[in-house]
Assembly symmetry: C2
Homo-oligomer: 448 residues x 2
């Protein structure tokens, strides 16, 4: 191993193209992608330029979306090279890339494609965003029932070169409607005189191009497949979706849910590289809305000024009580958001779940009331009954509210994850304030 | 279509085995699994018994884990049938099942396996839980460099029947060390006189059996593969991991993160079917801990009793201020928990992120202080300065704390998602109370 190769960063600082090419020869495309991902912008462009033409496509597809975009904007200076790169990407990866680019750039990029590739790109982009159609690739092999085994093999030799996966072949009828799927294994293991029709079991699972990508995630999780065929409304086969693309979708969707639930408006993939503006924008909306919601809790409290004046100790337990309601609510919302996202729970189940939640919330509330009574009993024995009683009521109301909110959001066709922990905290605070001081006013007016 | 077939539920209620078998004939195993999943326990056992022996394995593997377990416990009455079912499951699916069963049942189940299958099961179970070794299947095809193409095909015919995927063949040397991977496509497209060595590019990606399953998720997301080989510390090939199993892991892990973040101790897959006891147990721990944490905020407030007495209006803004700190903190924690989970951010990045967060938090805090000043200005002009100043400080402290907590948890080798929204809310409350009333005491003692 050369000295230079031990110090690739130095090689780059010196702009030593020869030594860098030598270094790349020891790496596979994934390792090269990892290596250049860690470089600063200018070094990255240089390092990218040094990659062998044979490997450039493989390296490119292993880069993060953001870095891909930077490289494309940089490469616009060299349209010939950009065109080559784009034309060599797989259709589904290319669609994902085009989708994320600003429109004026993606439009220019489509112009760089070869007529055939342009036709595919425009077609894929014709499906609604977030639809299965956008994930499709047309790189699969389809056969017809009357093919014999040698014909199938010959067909694969003719048309299989670009196929993304050969694990499964698809059987279509004369109208190109999907009628079955066959594993390549069955073909290899079958005796040569058999036809495709002999191997068919007429059982297959397919996706609809117009369906949401979430559906694809659920079907893939259920089916344990590596690829699934996509059909249109008439059952005509349009393409396939492979599990690696669906896995990316699943990952993005759970990030979105997570962020929504933490009251971040849009998913931010990397907080290290995201701009201050994007972070500010995606956080201030909810924070601002919640401030105005919280104003109501102040207003509610004002109504109880006399009670508070007469017993300031009440205030000491306020954060504890309203937090407990919010926390219990955040828990039940968490369970529902996730269960609705994974499909374990459907909209119609809300009634059953409320019944169960009331029971659990009473158990939780009673346990916590017992705990807090110990504390209140020492510090402010005169209000221990108020605090304990309020705890049970507040936990109950918070829990049921937290459970219902994701259902209400889903019903209104909003993302259930927007029923975020902070939102539930804020709403629980208002109801908590009202419950606590109402009970206090009633109890203290009786006893004092 | 028969009348009975239109009313499958009626068929089941009547225990009409013949009609049910007829109904099943029109469904694929996945549809049968969906159908029986919706049945109540006794009906489910009956419906399961009616499934054709040929299909039973496929139906079984499409059932949810929980239902699988119920069926197994029921089938223990018929050990012959249970043994057949278990022996026919794929090793990786079987390991997942054995892992989730109570130990006394899983031990009995292992005894039911054929010697060969038992050997595999015990070996897989020998790897640590959550390790890649547990996900492996030994159903792959390995070839050696000197094989010619016809020899490869013959080898596949001999040993490929049980292979889970034939998309990729693995090349191992005489010591069974993995040296390359080849796509089946390359074999089919190659001319017959070539050997495996001719097709090799000596570039492959592999996983280590001892590594955490999270590593597998990250590698699969990066690599766009459908299967990856698993090796031991010496590079000897042990098995393969397929993307469908990794997708299940990814889904489980993000559910776990989500639940942890919402202060649920362990992931609960389906809140509809989970027992009240499990739900109570997994929720009360955090709620209880948070109650005791909140006691401190009450204690802190007690120190400011005189200030509160002299200006009860301060209390009206308390929930608003402490919530804002908690909300901003929950946002930055959300971003970090997710970014640490997906690997976008590493432990060493905390310094850079804090710098950025301070800047963003000051922007957020100032915006919110401006908003709340309008409200406070109308309702309590004498404390508008206190409220606005406190807002900026509380949002700043909450944000930075929310950002740091996931890093601290990771550093302590705890799950960063345990830096949950409720935990951050509770801690922010204590600091918020102290900041707010300190500023108030200082300001009011000056002006009044």
């Amino acid at each position: 191993m050369n000295v230079e190769i031990n110090k690739p960063k130095e090689v780059i600082a010196n702009r030593d193209k020869e030594a860098l090419v030598e270094y790349y020869e020891q790496l596979n495309p994934f390792e090269i992608a990892q290596f250049i991902s860690e470089l600063e912008t200018d070094d990255l462009y240089f390092a990218f330029e040094c990659i062998d033409n044979e490997q450039i496509r493989d390296v490119f597809k292993h880069l993060e979306n953001e870095i891909q975009q930077n490289i494309i904007e940089y490469l616009e200076l060299d349209r010939h090279r950009l065109a080559k790169l784009l034309n060599e990407l797989k259709p589904d990866d290319r669609t994902a890339l085009l989708e994320d680019m600003p429109e004026h750039i993606s439009r220019r990029m489509i112009q760089l494609l070869k007529p055939e590739e342009r036709r595919i790109a425009v077609k894929l982009l014709g499906y609604p965003e977030e639809s299965i159609g956008r994930l499709m690739t047309s790189e699969y092999v389809a056969v017809q029932p009357h093919y014999t085994m040698p014909e199938v093999i010959q067909h694969i030799r003719n048309f299989g070169h670009d196929s993304e996966t050969l694990n499964v072949l698809y059987v279509v009828d004369e109208k190109l409607r999907l009628v079955d799927d066959l594993r390549i294994k069955e073909i290899i293991l079958a005796s040569p005189e058999k036809t495709v029709a002999d191997l068919m079991d007429d059982s297959f699972v397919s996706l609809n191009a117009a369906d949401d990508q979430e559906t694809a995630v659920k079907v893939f999780l259920d089916q344990d497949r590596v690829a699934l065929p996509v059909v249109d409304g008439d059952g005509v086969m349009l393409g396939i979706v492979t599990v690696d693309d669906v896995m990316d979708v699943a990952q993005e969707e759970s990030t979105e849910d997570f962020h929504r639930f933490g009251a971040i408006r849009e998913a931010i993939s990397n907080p290290l590289t995201a701009s201050v503006g994007a972070l500010y924008k995606n956080r201030i909306v909810w924070l601002f809305a919640l401030v105005f919601m919280n104003v109501f809790s102040g207003y509610a409290m004002q109504q109880f000024e006399a009670t508070i004046q007469s017993m300031v100790a009440l205030v000491f337990f306020l954060p504890l009580l309203i937090d407990s309601g919010g926390n219990a609510g955040a828990q039940s919302a968490t369970l529902m958001v996730r269960a609705l996202a994974t499909g374990e729970v459907a909209l119609k189940d809300w009634g059953k779940l409320v019944g169960k939640e009331v029971f659990i919330a009473l158990l939780l509330g009673t346990t916590m009331a017992a705990a807090v009574s110990v504390v209140a009993g020492i510090r402010a024995p005169e209000i221990v009954v108020v605090v304990a009683l309020s705890m049970v009521c507040i936990v109950l109301v918070g829990s049921v509210f937290g459970l219902l909110l994701p259902f209400i959001f889903t019903r209104l066709k909003l993302d259930p994850a927007a029923a975020s922990a902070p939102l539930i905290t804020s709403v629980s605070d208002i109801t908590g304030v009202i419950i606590y001081f109402s009970i206090a006013t009633w109890y203290l007016s009786d006893t004092i």
